[in-house]
């Protein structure tokens, strides 16, 4: 009997030593991007024997976040969860629920040098003194797309996109006059025309370094320049030079169907336009107002990052730390970047991709990276960190529609966005103080 017990014990020890630690990775990537998440996990799992990362698709960004929250409350949280940029402040404020990445890496003695990462990308997910809280995963930034064929038809140089906003509006009028239905459109009014616009002109979007330095931040983007910008777009909407195509990325068909010749969209939409546009198009930097000192500064990112949840075992954390180190390697970042269109998070991966000649056929993504690296980020261009950020963007979307419909003036609308947005910031502060 004793012998049998010993045997069982010995077996248990042996199998225990051989048991793989499996960690779940909940994400919101679909289609090809979803396959690439799986491919990264497969590569990692094949590279060693001790740990296994298992990606699980959980639906849209908000579905994934909600699933993570519900699972955490039920004590069944995954080790890694992908959270979109608007959820960043909520995750940060959830003390006791998340394990900061810098801490995770230090505890597991991982070689971890925050300096190898592109500062504009990691800055978005770090404390203001540079401690990385979550690992940037899929990052993009806003760029301008323009229809080269339409440029030729309107007598404009297809290799020279307008660099400044006055030039841009002038081009838009000419393009419309050349027989197009409209001149330009834009996606993501909040992310592109307000948040990125402010960063690109080195203007504060909110106080306290856009919220990085504290919950008592206030929105202050109703500045004269933003008013001038939105007023110009509104005026151009009157004769159809600007066409509104809907919230989020719903304006894309306006560009791909050739109704407008210039359009603002995430670089993440590059592959999609390559598939859907039946004309030659180019990617250019965001325009700027030349009378603003310091413009252009650098644009900011959107996308999602990977958060590590609390309450896991040592082995599980080791697995996560190894996985994070693995996906940060230049070759893996370059693989992800070239296959998904999202930006690489390290400069080494960018250099590697350049050396591989990828940008010769795909000049678009390089424009986006250069735009991010244009200057060292300032307090106005590190990123945006607000609680209830979703509600703030929703207020901006709704008010922008009311402005375009003529229900409220541009100035009053802009002031309303700031006032209502600040109200939700105070609610978040009250709850998370």
């Amino acid at each position: 009997m004793k012998k049998l017990l010993l045997l069982v014990l010995a077996l248990a020890v042996v199998s225990g030593a051989w048991a793989q630690t499996t960690v779940e990775f909940w994400h919101a990537m679909t289609g090809k991007n979803g396959d690439m998440v799986q491919a990264l996990a497969d590569k990692f799992n094949a590279s060693q024997k001790d740990y296994k990362v298992q990606p699980v698709y959980k639906g849209s960004y908000s579905d994934t976040m909600n699933a993570g929250i519900a699972a955490f409350r039920a004590g069944q949280a995954p080790a890694i969860i992908q959270v979109y940029e608007v959820g960043t402040a909520t995750m940060m404020a959830a003390k006791g629920a998340v394990k900061p990445v810098y801490q995770l890496m230090a505890e597991n003695n991982e070689k971890f040098d925050p300096k190898v990462y592109i500062p504009t990308i990691t800055g978005y997910y770090s404390t203001s003194d540079g401690k990385m809280l979550s690992l940037p995963f899929n990052s993009s930034t806003a760029v301008m797309y323009y229809n080269k064929d339409a440029f030729k038809k309107a007598g404009l140089d297809p290799e020279k996109a307008p660099a400044t906003w006055p030039e841009f509006f002038d081009y838009a009028k000419k393009l419309k006059a050349s027989g197009m239905e409209g001149g330009f459109s834009t996606n993501w009014i909040s992310w592109i025309q307000l948040e990125n616009f402010a960063a690109w002109h080195n203007l504060p979007f909110g106080t306290r370094k856009n919220g990085f330095d504290g919950l008592d931040t206030q929105l202050i983007f109703n500045s004269p320049l933003v008013l001038r910008h939105l007023q110009t777009i509104y005026d151009l909407s009157k004769d159809g030079t600007f066409i509104y195509g809907g919230r989020e990325n719903k304006a894309n068909p306006l560009f791909s169907s050739g109704k407008v010749a210039m359009h603002f969209e995430s670089i993440g939409g590059y592959a999609n336009f390559k598939n859907t546009c039946k004309f030659d198009f180019g990617v250019a930097r965001l325009p700027y107002y030349p009378d603003m000192l310091g413009a252009p500064q650098n644009s900011i990112i959107g996308g999602a990052s990977l958060w590590v949840l609390n309450g896991k075992t040592k082995a599980e954390y080791k697995a996560v730390a190894d996985f994070f180190a693995f996906i940060s390697l230049p070759e893996n970042q370059a693989f992800w970047h070239q296959n998904t269109g999202y930006l690489p998070i390290t400069t080494a991966a960018y250099e590697l991709t350049k050396a591989q000649g990828f940008y010769k056929d795909n000049p678009g993504p390089e424009v986006a990276i250069k735009q991010l690296l244009n200057k060292a980020p300032t307090g106005n261009s590190m990123g945006i960190r607000f609680g209830n950020f979703n509600i703030i963007r929703e207020i901006e979307d709704q008010t922008w529609e009311d402005i375009l419909a003529g229900k409220i003036s541009v100035k009053d609308g802009l002031d309303k966005m700031v006032k209502d947005g600040n109200k939700t910031l105070r609610e978040f502060e009250r709850l998370n103080k």
Partner: protein
């Protein structure tokens, strides 16, 4: 006249309804109780911090002009959907109930849209009316001179939602009206015809009153549909826009709770909705079922 069976043992009837009660408890009473409980708190989504605020969530709701706007648009929407889908369904039912060629073909075709999922119905209508690429939007603009842009014009957005939501509901109403019409005794109509009543008069004086149980039943069902089940259509077609002009109550609850993670405020809204459903149910059982004779 009622057929009642008396159980010999006292425990058995309770045992028999137990499975049903367990289901009702788990899927209705428990979440409802949670919603009521949560509506008195502010809490962060991860449940780390919880602040008791009493009736603040409710006060905030009732003092918010947006909430009242949402309330008004929900009522208008439910009424518009109910009236239009019932009127059209009744008209179609009367027409197909006549002895016409291909009658059963029409009947089958008219029932079909009910098989389309609400979400898909929304997508279909959105495709046709998309101001930038939609077929009907194109015809409206270039052939009829109507500037269709439901992305910015609230009236058009409301109209489009009503169309999409009614279209699906017509099939449902059609089936009930058709069944109702077929149970109207032919002898009554023939007698009226012999007395010289015109077809219109026959309809309003005989058929319509005899249909009243069906009509009232459908009225309640359609209002419930308009209020609570049209969420997927709003979600697909307008997402509450332009501005907040088509943000109906159920859509607002979902947005505030699931997307914006305001659990307290969203729970308070659910409780208000719950009271409304209870109200509608009482109206149905108390007044309509009693007054309307079958």
């Amino acid at each position: 006249m009622s057929k009642q069976y008396e159980f010999k043992t006292k425990g058995l009837p309770y045992l028999l309804v137990l499975p049903q009660m367990v289901i009702v408890f788990i899927f209705f009473f428990w979440p409802s109780a949670q919603a009521i409980w949560q509506s008195f708190f502010l809490q962060d989504p991860f449940g780390g911090r919880i602040i008791f605020v009493g009736f603040e969530n409710y006060l905030k709701l009732f003092q918010d002009p947006d909430y009242w706007a949402s309330f008004t648009v929900s009522v208008a929407f439910a009424v518009a959907v109910s009236l239009s889908s019932m009127a059209i369904a009744l008209f179609l039912a009367v027409q197909t109930n006549k002895k016409i060629r291909l009658g059963s073909f029409y009947k089958t075709m008219l029932i079909w849209p009910y098989a389309v999922a609400t979400m898909v119905a929304g997508v279909l209508w959105l495709f046709m009316f998309n101001p930038n690429v939609g077929v009907i939007a194109w015809v409206l603009k270039y052939k009829l001179g109507v500037e269709w842009n439901h992305l910015l014009k609230s009236n058009q957005a409301f109209l489009l939602l009503t169309l999409a939501a009614s279209w699906k509901q017509i099939s449902y109403n059609f089936v009930f009206f058709l069944a109702g019409l077929q149970s109207v005794p032919a002898a009554l109509i023939e007698a009226a015809a012999i007395d010289g009543a015109s077809p219109v008069k026959r309809f309003w004086k005989i058929i319509f009153p005899l249909l009243s149980p069906t009509t009232f039943y459908l009225m309640v069902m359609n209002l419930v549909y308009g209020f609570f089940e049209t969420f997927p259509i709003v979600h697909q077609v307008t997402a509450g826009g332009p501005g907040k002009s088509t943000q109906i109550l159920v859509y607002k609850v979902w947005r505030d709770g699931v997307i914006n993670l305001d659990l307290g405020g969203s729970s308070a809204q659910s409780v208000v909705l719950m009271i409304m459903v209870i109200g509608l149910t009482i109206i149905q059982f108390r007044f309509i079922e009693r007054k309307v004779t079958y």
